[in-house]
């Protein structure tokens, strides 16, 4: 949420740009729906687990990036907004990674009950 670095579909760009932006939004929404469908089908396919996990992570990341850069206008906003959001995102990802690494360590597993 900031003043766009250049007009993000505003009236100044004219009717043609508004039309193209509408089409971009619809195309991205359709693409996101298709990716979701692919994800759902993929989990039932007989591929190795690491392939499926990697595919799901990549597909989710693609959806995530499409939403933040197009629907949330990061592509057209000031770079400061991207930096601000990615600081939170990197900290969150780091926390998730650290917690997963910490709790998968042998020393953190629960002791066997006598």
């Amino acid at each position: 949420m900031s003043a766009p670095s250049h007009s993000a579909g505003g009236h100044a760009d004219g009717h043609g740009h508004d039309e193209s932006k509408f089409q971009i939004y619809v195309q991205i929404a359709m693409l996101l729906a298709v990716i979701t469908g692919v994800e759902i089908v993929a989990v039932f396919l007989p591929f190795p687990k690491w392939v499926l996990v990697s595919s799901l992570v990549v597909l989710s990341l693609v959806k995530f990036l499409f939403v933040i850069f197009y629907f949330m206008h990061l592509r057209w906003d000031k770079p400061f907004c991207t930096i601000l959001f990615f600081i939170g995102l990197v900290l969150a990802s780091g926390t998730v990674w650290a917690l997963l690494a910490l709790f998968s360590a042998e020393a953190s597993l629960p002791l066997p009950t006598p």
């Binding site: 949420m1 505003g10 989990v43 799901l56 989710s60 969150a92």
Partner: protein, 257 residues
């Protein structure tokens, strides 16, 4: 708003990490998520939330062009999709608790699952409330119009709209419940009408009240100047959507591998 969203990223990051930590080290004798989750319902919810994001983006574009009417319709559609998502979540929770016997406190899966998805559901509910208030705000009369009665009128408008949303949710869940408990469609309809008659009458009355409050009454003080308000609300709504994108994969889909 971006700073708030960045902080919310960390909040959800910790909740997702907690869920994953317990799922990677499941206690003996715990529930099997594959027997509890319904991938069909969750996929439908995901699709609905993605479409609501599209409508929200269109609402922002419409108000940037000063097209109030189009913005209102896009906001209404977003609210509608948000309510469908919440309805699916309420139904899912009820199904898990009653039929699958997974409660907040009887398993680690239940504790982390309800905390994570419930927090996300609260965010969606807050988003729906915000959208409703923005929709009602779009009727604020322009200078020289009935400014004095605007606040009381629009408070009643918001209440009527929220009542309509709540009653629609109740009626929909009542219909789903009737279809589940009755053996035939005819019996289900009889059960549904008997149980939800008052709610249906209330929903009709609330619809009429909303239509009355939304009747055209001259120029409104809502336009391109308010684009920044709609855009910040849109950012919040899209954020809720991206959190669900991660939850859908991390909590639901990975369980089926």
């Amino acid at each position: 708003m971006w700073a708030f969203l960045a902080s919310d990223c960390m909040f959800f990051g910790v909740l997702i990490a907690t869920h994953l930590v317990y799922r990677l080290n499941p206690p003996a004798g715990g529930l099997d998520p594959k027997l509890v989750f319904s991938v069909e319902l969750t996929s439908f919810s995901t699709f609905i939330l993605l479409m609501s994001s599209l409508m929200m983006a269109l609402a922002v574009t419409a108000i940037q062009k000063g097209n109030v009417r189009s913005c209102r319709w896009s906001l209404l559609t977003t609210i509608f999709f948000g309510m469908i998502f919440l309805g699916c979540q309420v139904y899912e929770f009820q199904h898990f608790v009653v039929d699958k016997k997974m409660t907040l406190s009887n398993s680690l899966l239940g504790t982390t699952f309800y905390t994570l998805t419930g927090t996300h559901g609260c965010h969606v509910a807050i988003g729906v409330l915000w959208l409703t208030l923005m929709y009602v705000r779009s009727f604020k009369p322009g200078a020289g119009s009935a400014q004095r009665t605007w606040l009381s009128h629009q408070l009643l408008h918001a209440l009527a709209f929220l009542a309509l949303l709540g009653l629609c949710l109740k009626v929909t869940l009542g219909l789903v419940h009737a279809i589940q408990v009755e053996p035939t469609l005819g019996a289900a309809m009889g059960h549904f009408v008997k149980a939800e008659f008052l709610a249906m009458v209330g929903a009709l009355a609330a619809t009429a009240a909303c239509g009355w409050f939304a009747r055209p009454r001259g120029p409104v003080a809502f336009g391109e100047a308010n684009a920044i308000d709609v855009e910040s609300m849109g950012l919040y709504w899209h954020f809720v959507d991206i959190v669900w994108i991660v939850i859908f994969t991390a909590v639901y889909l990975l369980e089926y591998l």
